[in-house]
């Protein structure tokens, strides 16, 4: 089925889109590039979230907990000892994956709103920690990261695009692969999955780890792009909300849709910029309308149309 997935329309289309996107730097301003660079990282955040929600059926309200862990661990390490950037990023990913386990534990015990809250609380705790441990984290005015991957808009853009494309390919492939099937089965009906001989706990844990891996990696990379990390950009609950909205907007359970949603949000937010405060209002309104009237999301609408035939 993977073979079929590889040549399926969504994949081909996304491939073309990525190739086109790769040529953007040749004719758009650095400002637009910067815009998309961030959008791509958010795309990865949303995809990682969608893996948990759409496939493992776990509603994680704390994606920014994993993201923040990745970004801050990497940033603090660089800030203190300036080891090779790759090392900092690796550390960030590791921290984030440990965070993933911490989140997974309650997830396997409690359901619905309760799990949602534990994840939310995890974010609040991290936020408190960052502010309290200001000497280490820079507190609420943010952490300065001395090194950056590159100071060139184009390079940064290509890195983000490439990273997003690869992550997307991996996550999409994963969900289409045998383990992806098992994960969905476990998420949808644990009893049945168990009766089919699948160790539900094992597969869910794995899903949390994968999700954490990409969230953390994306967070760390983004931190090294901005050369700064602050609660406002990485941890605040509203960041998590943005990630979730992105995924729901693009179409949950589609992985690729998440990217669509994230980019759409950023683009919309941007075009509305001149409206100032109203921009956020309108973006939320649009998102709300999609949630209410097109629950399948942007990509979901297309897919839905196809599946129904």
């Amino acid at each position: 089925m993977l073979r079929r997935a590889l040549v399926s329309p969504p994949v081909l289309i996304s491939l073309i889109v990525v190739l086109l996107a790769a040529t953007l730097p040749l004719y758009v301003s650095g400002y637009v590039l910067g815009l998309l660079t961030i959008a791509y990282y958010f795309g990865v955040f949303s995809m990682a979230w969608d893996l948990l929600f759409g496939f493992a059926n776990e509603v994680n309200f704390g994606p920014s907990f994993l993201i923040g862990l990745g970004a801050y661990t990497a940033g603090i390490l660089d800030n203190l000892y300036q080891p090779p950037i790759a090392l900092c990023i690796a550390a960030g990913v590791l921290a984030s994956m440990i965070g993933g386990l911490v989140l997974a534990l309650p997830a396997l015990r409690v359901r619905g709103p309760y799990f949602g809250l534990t994840t939310l609380v995890a974010v609040l705790m991290l936020q408190n920690f960052v502010v309290v441990a200001a000497s280490l984290t820079g507190g609420e005015i943010g952490l300065t990261i001395p090194d950056v991957i590159s100071i060139d808009d184009k390079v940064n853009y290509w890195i983000a695009l490439g990273f997003m494309a690869v992550s997307g390919a991996i996550l999409y492939g994963l969900t289409r692969s045998p383990v992806g099937l098992i994960l969905q089965a476990s998420g949808q009906d644990p009893v049945q999955a168990g009766a089919l001989g699948f160790n539900v706990t094992k597969h869910k844990l794995a899903a949390f780890l994968v999700s954490a891996f990409f969230s953390g990696l994306a967070g760390a990379l983004m931190a090294f792009y901005l050369g700064t990390a602050s609660v406002g950009t990485f941890i605040d609950v509203t960041v998590g909300v943005q990630v979730i909205i992105g995924a729901v907007l693009g179409g949950r359970r589609t992985i690729l849709g998440a990217v669509l949603g994230a980019v759409f949000l950023v683009a919309l937010g941007e075009t509305l910029r001149p409206l100032g405060d109203l921009a956020t209002f309108i973006v939320s309104a649009v998102a709300l309308i999609v949630v209410l009237f097109f629950p399948a999301g942007l990509l979901g609408m297309v897919k839905g149309a196809r599946e129904a035939t």
Partner: protein, 491 residues
Amino acid sequence: MSAPAAKLEVSGLQKRFGGLTAVRDVSFSVHAGEILGLIGPNGSGKSTVMKSILGVERPDAGSVRVDAREVAGWPPHRIAQLGVGMVFQHSRPLHRQTVLENILLGLLPDRLLDLLPRAAANARARAIAERVGLTGVLNRRPATLPFADLRKIEIAKAIARDPQVVLIDEPFAGLTARETASFAKLITEMRDDGRAVLIVDHNVKSMSALVDRVYAMNVGEKIAEGTVAEVMANETVRKVYLGGALTTAARPEAAFADAQTPFLEIENLSVVYDKAQALEGVSLHVHEGEFVAVVGLNGAGKTTLFNAVSGLVPYAGDIRRQGKPLRGRTAAMIAREGIVQSPEGRELFGLMTVGENLDMGGHGLGDKERGERREWLFNLFPILKERQRQTAATLSGGEQQMLTIARALMMKPDLLILDEPTLGLAPVVMEQISKALERLRQTTEITVLLGEQNVTFALPHADRVYVLEHGRIVWEGDPSRFAAEAGAMYL
């Protein structure tokens, strides 16, 4: 059937939920190439037995052996890996995957790093699909398939794991007669492959054609075991399903004033729950003041029928009250206008006192009238008067059932619908309720539509009886003729 060791062996199985013992000392075994039928009316504990075998429930005592290995208390996936497969009654396929992918799921090993599907698996999946007759729809998505095919997917998934032991829960529920046949064929094939098959269902009849032996349960205990014929002949079984000798007090249909347009008319009623045919072309009527019983095993469609009348489920066909169609009225309206249901699930307000529950029933009445009504009910069900300050949750099952009926009567119903009032009650309690109904029938003009699987309880009150089976009315007539004409199909 003379394999040395049984594939599946259950012995001394015991399971308690809080106070009540759901399963007590159940023992049976299934050999390779054998089909055992596990039957029992609702609440007999058969599904608890099934869950214990699957590892979903952890038995309190006794043992479950698969291929002579003790698996009691193991997690489900390990039991499954040992070769126990399950065909669930409610199919929940992966909606975004094709039929083929759904079957493939059954073929996957429980590994994390299994990223590329094997061609072999693919071929095998197709073979299985071929066998269960899904070849035509391999690349469609479940959402677009009829109910029978969804069930076939479940069977295919089970076969895919090549289990030594197969558990099948109510294989024929929701299937049409023709589909039922093809399913029976699939099941016998499994046996012929040398698997040990355990079918769980309500009664013998549905499976008489294919089982080798039957193990019958009631209220958590074995009541009979043996061949179909033996079990059907068994006295206890007959008593449980048909009751003993009955004295009936039926009034002739002509005796009712509204012979022309009955108070309630149901015509060609059909209900479909996500693709499962719950009711098919059901027609019946109830005259004003009449007491009509609809008997049928759990799952036959009684509750669906009543919920359709109460406006709780969408339906095709007509339901008329005194000639006027009920369609379009909300459930609450129908209830306010006098068609009141005393539901199977009781639906009491657990944390409210008996008194408050009754008041909720009489919310439409003035304070004075409500008071009188309550007094009247208190002398119909004296026990409730003693309990009136107690919260409903603390009542015994029987008291709760009385409260449910009383609460419905508070609404001064023109038609009282009683759904399974005896469910899970001890005989003495049934007796009390039976007495109360008797008095109602004598002292008031009340019209009653009773749904029961316990014939002993239903027939004595009934003026007329309908037998419901797999969503269809299969017999209608005078209660006195029931045992003779309908008994066989009921067992």
